[in-house]
């Protein structure tokens, strides 16, 4: 582990490096020391029952959730954290956090597209406001991305007029517009009707095949087995087991994972 902040990420160094991550909500500890390393090009799936801490872990990576303890290094640079009055850690350098967030694409369970903007405007917003793209550049990029997720014809529609699957594909396009180095997916298909799940998974699979670094919280076990290089099984705020899909699903060690695997079969 390299802790020097000025050193650029090397190939043998994880782009996401989390050590000893703990998080308490109102005195209840939901993360009890999570370690997670993602190397460039890796796809990691976080699985586990509800309340196991997988979404909270993901949300701590870009500090949408303030961790209570632990260290987070992204792209070889540790996040500067300091304790705040609530007992959680908070960012010491807001500009550093914004720079890092711009390189981490996040896809939410509820899509979270902005309702007052058309699809195209949703996608153009962050590149124009954060990366200072011109309107023309941002629009060209948005059109290319909408084409890619199969929504070019819907570019002028507002989110409320679209199906959940279409909204989620647009939300993926929105985070891709920032050209992120790591994509974080927080249960991207959990809010979708069953028949809409496949179209979203196909887009995510396409991204995995491009060699993008991704961390995916999911309940789609078949999908996790297909796309992930590494699967981490979380249970009660700890990483209970991690390994390849074959190890996790074919040869689970712990009692809890055996139960989990048999319950979803």
């Amino acid at each position: 582990m390299n802790k020097k902040s000025a050193t650029p990420a090397r190939a043998d160094q994880p782009v996401v490096d989390i050590r000893g991550l703990r998080k308490s909500f109102a005195g209840i500890e939901v993360l009890k020391g999570i370690d997670l390393q993602a190397y460039a090009g890796e796809v990691i799936a976080l699985i586990g029952g509800s309340g196991s801490g997988k979404s909270t872990t993901l949300r701590c990576i870009n500090l949408l959730e303030a961790p209570s303890a632990g260290s987070i290094s992204l792209f070889g640079t540790p996040l500067q954290l300091k304790p705040c009055s609530t007992g959680d850690l908070q960012i010491a350098d807001r500009a550093q956090l914004r720079r890092i967030r711009a390189k981490l694409g996040m896809v939410f369970q509820n899509f979270n597209l902005w309702p007052h903007l058309s699809l195209e405007q949703n996608i153009m917003e962050a590149p124009m406001q954060v990366l200072r793209y011109s309107k023309g550049e941002a629009r060209d990029a948005a059109h290319a991305l909408l084409e890619r997720v199969g929504l070019y014809e819907k570019r002028c529609s507002y989110p409320a007029t679209l199906s959940g699957g279409q909204q989620q594909r647009a939300a993926i396009a929105r985070s891709l517009a920032m050209e992120p180095e790591v994509m974080l997916f927080d249960e991207p298909t959990s809010a979708l009707d069953p028949e809409l799940v496949a179209e979203v998974l196909a887009v995510i699979q396409g991204l995995a095949e491009e060699g993008r670094t991704m961390i995916i919280v999911t309940h789609e076990m078949k999908f996790a087995a297909q796309v992930a290089n590494k699967i981490m099984f979380l249970n009660e705020g700890r990483v209970e087991e991690e390994g390849t899909a074959q190890q996790i699903f074919g040869n689970p060690n712990s009692e809890r994972l055996k139960q989990f695997v048999s319950s979803i079969k």
């Binding site: 949408l64 902005w114 406001q129 507002y158």
Partner: protein
């Protein structure tokens, strides 16, 4: 002494004296100035009040709760009397204690202050509710993309709160235009006061009070039309349109 009794309605309402039409319109203009200035300052107070109430510390929140609770529970008429009569006394005591010259509060300033304070208190609550109605995920999405807090407010929060806030804000504007009538008690020549003067001078009470009522109605109708256009604009993308 003019003989108003035998004058026709057209002559009574004529813009040039001895008609009173011009005086009524001047009164209306003053009313609109007070309402407009008070409302705009109220928007500034209410907007910042709402943001501070949501993101400020406990002390700021308590102070703001005191402000909104007090102002919303005291009748506007009492507030006007307080600010016009008691306000200058207190202010001048403070100024003379500091060795500064006395000042006088004009009815215009008192009027704008009262409308702004009252509107600010109500707008704080309207805007706070509208901000809290925005799904937290929409703001998280903006934060996760690296947007700055002010950019998020300008590009996401503000346009998303307007559809919820505008019906309340348009109500408050109508209330502001009519609260100006209360300034008649401090001798401010707004529409209601001049209408009463016209009525008392000419003894044509029904005519002039109805004329004033009609002018208030016209203001409301035009305001409604403008606010409806604004609502249609900010509601684009909403599923219920």
């Amino acid at each position: 002494m003019l003989n108003y009794r035998d004058m026709s309605v057209a002559d009574l309402l004529a813009l040039a004296p001895p008609g009173w039409g011009g005086v009524l319109l001047d009164g209306l203009w003053l009313s609109l100035q007070v309402a407009g200035a008070g409302y705009i300052i109220g928007l500034l107070i209410g907007g910042s009040g709402a943001l501070l109430k949501i993101s400020g510390g406990p002390l700021t929140r308590d102070l703001l709760t005191c402000y909104t609770t007090l102002v919303r529970s005291i009748p506007e008429l009492v507030l006007i009397l307080l600010i016009y009569f008691a306000g200058p006394v207190a202010l001048n005591q403070l100024l003379s204690a500091l060795g500064l010259p006395k000042i006088e509060i004009s009815p215009l300033v008192a009027g704008i202050t009262v409308i702004a304070l009252v509107q600010g208190a109500y707008i704080t609550e309207v805007v706070r509710g509208a901000i809290e109605a925005i799904p937290v995920g929409h703001i998280e999405a903006a934060r996760s993309l690296g947007m700055r807090p002010f950019t998020i407010f300008r590009r996401i929060t503000l346009p998303e709160l307007l559809p919820t806030a505008l019906p309340g804000l348009s109500n408050l504007w109508l209330i502001a235009t009519k609260d100006t009538a209360l300034l008649a008690v401090v001798g401010f020549s707004e529409l209601t006061l001049v209408a009463r003067q016209a009525a008392a001078t000419t003894k044509h009470h029904l005519l002039f009070l109805c004329a004033a009522g009609l002018l208030y109605l016209i203001v409301s109708v035009i305001s409604n039309w403008l606010f409806r256009r604004l609502e249609n604009r900010v509601n684009r993308g909403q599923s219920h349109v």
